[in-house]
């Protein structure tokens, strides 16, 4: 006889954990099942080599909703997010564009390349922040169904309309354009200098199967700017101990509220009887039943891999099959014997603490994308790398370092066929060689490298096609269209089944908003007291 729970959450990604914790806080008996022997999903710290800890998927924190941080008491459960401040973009000719914590130093650095752009940056951030302010207030709200006549949906639509109208005439125009234009088009309205444009363009394509010149990439930039650290908008930080610290704190909160976590065996089937989800069957044969089943897995994984198609409607399945979730990123996690010497940063330790990028023009970024389209990883890849151990003393022995290297673009398949180990190793070499070009001697410092292509991301984390956001962040898959029209309110197509992963509004990143929002909807359906906080308003 299977044990009966109020709710089962499938997948211990940070959204599943947040979801389960809010349910447990409301007094539900919650079971979490995770296929891996560890929790965290893409928000994880792994010990894969000696005394090194890798944030082996996500590596920096900004999007995590502060309301969730507080409501789940994550500080008390050990989570500490330390801002690092700044960034730097290194060029092939040995120069760089730095962004310093000090605003005047940053302005002068930009003025070193273009005085005009240094000044335009003010206007640029104003416009980004306007858009951020608009969308931030919808992060912890359920998107309205625009076709519904339910009072709640109508009110929410009205709210959306009113907030939109409040932006003012010229910003309303900008908003419409913003969601549909490319990041390069957007940047052209502000900047003249190629390096300054390239430095800004990077976050428009992180995790996206789009090029800097593709429509829709301006929004992706916004997605990376709408977070904060301690109220500093757009700031990023390290979770002390790696991104797993976020999941661990959520896990501790969940257990503290009576939740159980079972790891090491994945869900094979979500069981449905009479059009109702009734529980799960694991690969190891264990079965658990519950009135509520919540999936933290991606949309396709949930419905195409873990459910019987006969339990689902064909038009629904078609939409799921066509959900855009193309992988485009890779990751190399490196244990270093010492600090690399970047030619450009020879004496600038200050910028080595920050987010370092290798790029010098938007054209070079576009060409990197061309390779992806041609079915091969970028031969001249865009690299976004950090050395967290310059800030966080807990991740490597003193004097040694962990380097997190995020790579764009990496296709889900190589020339249409599956990745092989040889492909993966060749990709790893491409990345190491790229860094070596900017930091001669770098490769000699490499003690261990974990190379992750979309294949590994899918196999280990369950990210379909290796898409880091559990689904692309394009206008057709945002807000009430995320993941697919008609299913944007975290309720699945069978009763008792809910979705809480990044495939849902407001999307990917270590944000915890989908998990929290889904919990609010579940508690609502169960007529339980709501434990999910409302968003903190800015004004």
């Amino acid at each position: 006889m299977a044990k009966q729970y109020d709710a089962i959450v499938i997948g211990a990604g940070h959204n599943g954990l947040a979801n389960a914790a809010f349910l447990a806080k409301a007094g539900l008996s919650v079971l979490m099942v995770e296929k891996n022997p560890y929790i965290g999903g893409a928000s994880v710290s792994r010990n894969l080599y000696k005394d090194w800890i890798y944030s082996n998927c996500s590596y920096v924190c900004s999007l995590l909703r502060p309301e969730v941080y507080r409501a789940l008491d994550l500080a008390r459960y050990g989570l500490q997010v330390v801002p690092y401040g700044g960034s730097v973009t290194l060029t092939q000719d040995g120069d760089y564009l730095g962004s310093y914590i000090d605003p005047d130093a940053s302005r002068r650095e930009m003025a070193r390349h273009s005085p005009r752009d240094a000044d335009a940056e003010v206007r640029y951030w104003r416009d980004i922040m306007r858009q951020c302010r608009f969308i931030r207030q919808f992060l912890l709200r359920t998107a309205p169904d625009p076709t519904s006549f339910k009072p709640r949906d109508l009110l929410e639509l009205l709210h959306l309309g009113r907030e939109f109208w409040k932006l003012g005439e010229s910003v309303m125009y900008d908003t419409m354009r913003f969601y549909t234009m490319s990041i390069v088009e957007f940047l052209d309205e502000y900047f003249e200098h190629p390096l300054i444009k390239a430095a800004h363009a990077g976050s428009g394509i992180i995790g996206s199967a789009l090029g800097v010149m593709s429509p829709g990439t301006a929004y992706v930039l916004l997605h990376h700017a709408m977070g904060e650290v301690d109220g500093t908008a757009g700031a990023w930080g390290f979770a002390r101990g790696g991104m797993g610290a976020i999941a661990e704190a959520m896990g501790a909160c969940l257990r503290d509220h009576g939740g159980e976590i079972v790891t090491g065996s994945g869900v094979e089937r979500i069981q449905v009887r009479n059009g109702r989800a009734t529980g799960v069957a694991l690969e190891n044969g264990d079965e658990y039943t519950a009135d509520v089943v919540v999936s933290n897995m991606t949309l396709p994984r949930t419905f195409l891999e873990c459910m019987d198609p006969a339990d689902l409607r064909p038009d629904f399945l078609t939409k799921v099959r066509n959900f855009k979730i193309r992988g485009s990123s890779g990751k190399v996690n490196i244990a270093l014997d010492g600090l690399p010497q970047f030619t450009a940063l020879r004496e600038n330790r200050e910028l080595m603490h920050t987010d370092m990028h290798l790029i010098d023009s938007v054209e070079r970024l576009e060409r990197a994308y061309d390779d992806w389209k041609n079915g091969i990883w970028s031969q001249d890849p865009y690299i976004d790398m950090l050395i967290p151990t310059l800030t966080d003393p807990t991740m490597a022995p003193p004097g040694k370092h962990f380097m997190s290297v995020f790579v764009q673009y990496v296709p889900p398949k190589v020339h249409g066929r599956d990745w092989t180990d040889a492909d993966r190793d060749a990709f790893g070499q491409t990345v190491l060689n790229q860094i070596e070009r900017y930091a001669p001697g770098f490769k000699n410092l490499v003690l261990h490298a974990e190379v992750r292509t979309p294949r590994e991301l899918e196999a280990e984390v369950g990210l379909t096609e290796g898409n880091i956001f559990q689904g692309e962040l394009t206008m057709d898959q945002l807000l009430f269209n995320r993941p697919i029209p008609g299913y944007a309110q975290y309720r699945g197509p069978v009763k008792g089944l809910y979705l809480c992963g990044s495939s849902n509004h407001p999307g990917g990143g270590v944000m915890a908003a989908p998990g929290a929002n889904a919990a609010r909807e579940i508690l609502r359906d169960l007529r339980k007291p709501n434990t999910v906080p409302e968003g903190w308003l800015d004004d």
């Binding site: 302005r107 650095e109 005009r116 003010v122 104003r126 306007r130 302010r133 004496e347 910028l351």
Partner: protein, 401 residues
């Protein structure tokens, strides 16, 4: 010689740079406290803000305004360009004259205010609080002009107060007494050109001195020698702030938000809403923001920036403003007890239609005595003109006060 250098990558090792007057400032800075004004080290107070304030009203005070953002505009289309950029008729600012103006976005919202120096035929300097090169260049499209920022290439001192003219006379600036308010003149100073304008931010008799940074220190020294018996004192930014509030002058980022950095759409202001409608000249056929400003004039202001004379003696810092019917109608942006007007004064933003001259309002004032906070409601009245307006401000030639 510039003291601010960022042409080299290692500029980041200096988060702030010394002004060309730094050595002199350092010698005078008894409090050893420094503040930052964009790229430069600035002095909040050298000895005592109150004493420095009184130097500005009773003798003369010297303030380093090098950090002020400065632009040079020249070329055949300089005048038509400025008429496009600025709201007022720049043609009326003849060579050798200075004019105050604002400039607006296409939506008619104030980007900044500043002074326009017509240095010589067709050549101008614009001084502003905020950096403007982006907007100035955007606006230059289609004009045959050169617009460059020259903040770091010009050292500047404000010499303000009753004995300022006498000091400059003693310095040997022949005919300086004949310079009328908003006039400028060039002098030779140790082989370089010294520009002197009868301008300032204190609403008093005063001048501003402009020179190449290489001659900054000698200029400072000569000035202090000349003013030694006339009560000259270096003056920090705290004293200057008191002087400008008494004069009723507004400050970008304090009394209004510059439009280019304002995220919340209703937080920007038209010139009408800042009491600067007199700077908008609709007789000009085109200028940035004209269409929007015409509509704004038609609609009437959403807000008014008012000067308040408040009962009692407790400065109304950060106060809310209420109507006499106790409706919250606005907030104070600058406040002080005015030692020269002997009045409790403030600049405030109130929602229109409030803010008519003479209107009575109520101010919620919080004040602290031996750590304990108290609150009072004080009545206030909207007044016009400067809170303190000495006749010497306009006298030409000024008396040797």
């Amino acid at each position: 010689m510039r003291t601010v250098r960022f042409d080299r990558r290692d500029h980041y090792r200096h988060k702030v740079f010394p002004s060309p007057f730094h050595a002199r400032q350092q010698a005078h800075n008894e409090l050893k406290v420094w503040s930052r004004w964009f790229d430069y080290l600035s002095v909040p107070a050298y000895t005592c803000a109150q004493m420095e304030y009184f130097a500005g009203r009773n003798a003369c005070g010297v303030f380093d305004l090098t950090p002020m953002t400065k632009h040079r505009v020249s070329g055949p289309d300089a005048l038509p360009y400025l008429n496009r950029l600025l709201t007022r008729d720049v043609g009326k600012i003849r060579p050798g004259r200075v004019g105050y103006s604002v400039w607006c976005t296409d939506e008619g919202q104030v980007i900044d205010d500043g002074t326009v120096f017509h240095l010589r035929e067709g050549e101008y300097r614009i001084c502003s609080q905020e950096h403007q090169i982006d907007w100035f260049l955007i606006s230059a499209l289609g004009f045959d002009v050169e617009v460059v920022e020259e903040t770091h290439d010009v050292a500047a001192l404000a010499l303000q107060g009753p004995t300022s003219c006498a000091t400059l006379k003693r310095m040997g600036l022949d005919g300086i007494e004949n310079l009328t308010p908003f006039g400028l003149a060039h002098f030779d100073f140790q082989g370089t050109q010294l520009m002197v304008s009868r301008t300032g931010y204190t609403g008093d008799l005063g001048y501003e001195l402009w020179i190449d940074p290489g001659h900054a220190e000698p200029l400072w020294n000569r000035l202090f020698e000349a003013g030694r018996l006339l009560g000259i004192k270096p003056m920090g930014s705290e004293a200057l702030d008191l002087l400008r509030i008494e004069a009723g002058f507004i400050l970008a980022g304090v009394d209004f938000m510059p439009a280019q950095q304002t995220v919340r759409p209703t937080h920007t202001r038209t010139p009408f809403e800042l009491g600067l409608g007199w700077l908008v000249d609709f007789d000009k056929p085109v200028f940035n923001g004209r269409r929007a400003l015409l509509a704004a004039r038609e609609r009437g202001p959403r807000y008014r920036l008012v000067r308040l004379d408040i009962e009692g003696n407790k400065p109304a810092h950060h106060s809310y403003v209420y109507s006499t019917r106790n409706k919250n109608i606005g907030w104070v942006t600058s406040a002080m007890w005015s030692p020269s007007a002997k009045a409790n004064i403030a600049l405030a933003t109130v929602a229109a239609p409030h803010g008519e001259p003479g209107e009575e309002m109520r101010i919620e004032i919080y004040y602290q005595r031996e750590l304990k906070w108290s609150r009072m409601m004080a009545s206030a009245r909207v007044v016009e003109g400067a809170f303190y307006d000495p006749p010497r401000r306009r006298e030409t030639p000024p008396l040797d006060h």
